[in-house]
């Protein structure tokens, strides 16, 4: 028995070794390969590679948006870790060159004075924009092609959580440089948190480390920004990706004609998708470094240290829609229940974004085609196949854009009433127009793509494809 086992094991190993290396006999292998063999015999990565390395990735430009979000996060972690080595999370005043400055502000000024650190700070800031843009575009792709439907409802909801967490990371990140902008913007956040009925004061003081700005605030916000939110995000991203692997990708409709149902048409993770992803990562690094070097997104002297004289602050675009809504909501939206106030800041600053993110989360359950679903949706649906979805999607997007306009209403000469009217009318009209147009152009049916009814096109040079088995 012992003899047979030893006799079998090396044989098996040789079989595994030879395949990936194009048939080099093991006797003639160099030290590097022998080292690889040594690891392989103990860790057995070949089996792992057979199981996951062959996972097929459909190749489509929009399928890289999720990867872009992931890579932005990686870049944020790397650059953020570097910044954390210099940054001082404290608002205590320190004297530098006769000037009393909060320590955090002074340390970011130090970061700005070191060229490499300044570059990485700019990259960190730009990467946070890129991350949120990627997540937004990624979710739009999924929305408009209807791939949030069965069986991917849960992963859609997880994706909305990731969007919320990255908005949170960005908001808290802004407080850290502790310039005039940071203190004003974070103070507004504190005011909004305080407006929660009943528990607002406790919740706000817990999150902001006391009545903002107090000396407990910066350490608290710092820990939330560099540890708590990224740690939760890492875990949630892991879950998101595990589900993608488990449920497999959806694919563009043409895959129906080229691959059997249940098979994914695409390039294998190793090496082709890995190469594409690597190129994307390098490209992103390149673009971000170039941007960071040429366009400082938030130079400290633009706002200066915190002081009584306020510079007008507008939040970044990714929370500007909430700001626009806050500006529109009248002070009269205000009532008391059991001695606690439900005021405009609560409705505008918290309830409104919660409704938006909540409706987004519920999209798979609101979509009637999904409620009636008897089977899984494994292919992207051309957007115009569903005029209703297209209309709602564009309507909501236009609404968000109108709230950006509302954020500037007083500066562009509008009054509140007219702005209200526009923010409601323009999205409704656009949505209706898109719906009517969609009704006319909607001519695709799922059946049109049935591999049995559609002739396989004569493909002289097919794309490089790999079909993975169903599991």
């Amino acid at each position: 028995m012992t003899i047979r086992q030893t006799g079998r094991t090396p044989g098996e190993t040789r079989e595994l070794e030879v395949r990936p290396r194009g048939g080099v006999p093991s006797a003639r292998r160099g030290p590097q390969q022998r080292m690889a063999d040594w690891v392989e015999e103990r860790v057995g990565l070949a089996a792992f590679n057979r199981k996951y390395g062959r996972k097929a990735f459909p190749v489509h430009t929009t399928f890289f948006l999720g990867e872009m979000a992931l890579f932005s996060f990686v870049i944020l972690v790397l650059t953020g870790a570097y910044l954390g080595l210099i940054y001082v999370p404290s608002s205590d005043p320190i004297t530098i060159g006769g000037e009393d400055l909060p320590a955090a502000y002074a340390s970011v000024r130090l970061i700005e004075s070191i060229p490499v650190a300044n570059l990485l700070r700019n990259v960190h800031h730009w990467a946070s924009h890129l991350m949120i843009i990627s997540i937004v575009l990624h979710s739009l792709r999924i929305y408009f092609t209807g791939t949030y439907r069965k069986p991917r409802e849960l992963n859609w909801a997880i994706g909305v959580v990731l969007l919320g967490l990255s908005l949170m990371a960005g908001f808290v990140g802004y407080s850290l440089p502790y310039d005039s902008y940071a203190v004003t913007a974070t103070g507004i956040g504190y005011g909004i948190a305080r407006s929660i009925p009943f528990v607002g004061h406790i919740a706000a003081d817990l999150f902001f480390g006391g009545a903002f700005p107090s000396f407990g605030s910066v350490p608290r916000l710092y820990t939330i920004h560099v540890f708590i939110v990224p740690a939760i995000m890492t875990a949630v991203m892991g879950l998101h990706l595990v589900l993608v692997i488990k449920q497999k990708h959806t694919q563009p409709g043409y895959a129906r004609r080229l691959a059997e149902p249940g098979k994914v048409l695409g390039v294998p993770l190793w090496p082709y998708q890995a190469i594409l992803a690597g190129v994307l990562l390098m490209l992103m690094f390149g673009v971000l470094f170039l941007l960071g070097a040429l366009v400082p997104p938030h130079p400290l002297e633009a706002y200066g240290p915190p002081g009584p004289a306020n510079t007008a602050v507008k939040p970044d675009w990714y929370v500007l829609w909430i700001y626009g809504f806050l500006k529109l909501i009248p002070a009269s939206v205000n009532f008391s229940v059991a001695g606690s106030t439900f005021g405009p800041n609560f409705f505008g600053g918290l309830v409104f974004p919660a409704i938006v993110l909540g409706l987004l989360t519920l999209a798979p359950w609101l979509d009637s085609t999904n409620r009636k679903a008897t089977r899984n949706y494994e292919y992207l649906e051309p957007p115009r196949q569903s005029p209703m979805r297209m209309a709602i999607g564009t309507g909501v997007l236009v609404y968000i854009l109108m709230l950006f306009v509302a954020a500037y209403y007083d500066e562009i000469g509008l009054n509140v009433g007219l702005t209200w009217l526009l923010t409601i009318a323009v999205p409704l009209v656009t949505g209706a127009a898109v719906f009517l147009w969609g009704k006319r152009v909607a001519r695709y049916r799922e059946e049109d793509f049935d591999p049995r009814t559609v002739d396989t096109p004569a493909t002289g040079d097919q794309p490089a494809t790999e079909a993975t088995p169903a599991d």
Partner: protein, 201 residues
């Protein structure tokens, strides 16, 4: 990989004998299974408490802040003359300036907007309000916009001639006002504290 997973084996051995005698559990007897269930629940409880108690301990560190009182001299809050006393005669009609009580400049909640609403040298025509917007606590602009006090954050506007009543925007209540007196050489002093709560409620 079609072997029975450890989980299902476990369930078989645990549930097997019990499903035969459900009455034992219904009578609330201390069976081994019941006891274990309670031990597990206790474990969850201890786990939750281990997080809840430190979370309560995270409560705020609230800094003691000096607030403006009667007798505090008002000084320029910003600009080149920052820290210098403001004299009543230095303010032109229909202009405003941000002020802080001398020696209490650390607490920015003390910021005051001084407005000259009518020509004059003394306290007549001079009004002072908290500069902290009652909406979400931004400090209002240190100048008048169309003869109104304006908040740059969400466009609230207040009437300096009418106890800083809200003229527009989301602010829920007027800016609290600060009683002032004008002493010799035009030095402006607070004659008391603000007449209301500063900033958002």
């Amino acid at each position: 990989m079609s072997t029975v997973s450890p989980n299902s084996t476990e369930r078989l051995t645990l549930e097997g004998p019990e499903s035969g005698a459900p009455e034992v559990e219904d009578q609330g007897l201390v069976t081994r299974r019941n006891l274990l269930k309670w031990v597990i629940r206790l474990g969850y409880g201890a786990f939750a408490a281990a997080f809840a108690i430190p979370a309560l301990a995270l409560q705020s560190l609230t800094q003691e802040q000096q607030v403006v009182e009667a007798g505090d001299q008002l000084t320029y809050a910003a600009g080149g003359q920052s820290g210098q006393p403001i004299r009543a005669g230095e303010l032109q009609p229909n202009t405003a300036v941000l002020a802080l009580p001398q020696n209490k400049t650390e607490n920015q909640q003390n910021t005051v907007i001084l407005v000259r609403v009518a020509p004059g040298q003394g306290a007549e025509g001079l009004v002072a309000y908290s500069a902290i917007c009652t909406h979400l606590g931004c400090s209002v602009l240190g100048r008048l916009v169309n003869n109104e006090i304006a908040c740059p954050c969400h466009a609230s506007r207040f009437d300096p001639r009418n106890d800083a009543a809200v003229l527009g925007g989301p602010a829920p209540r007027p800016l609290p006002s600060l009683p002032i007196t004008v002493g010799p050489e035009g030095v402006i002093t607070a004659a008391g504290g603000f007449n209301g709560e500063i900033g958002p409620a």
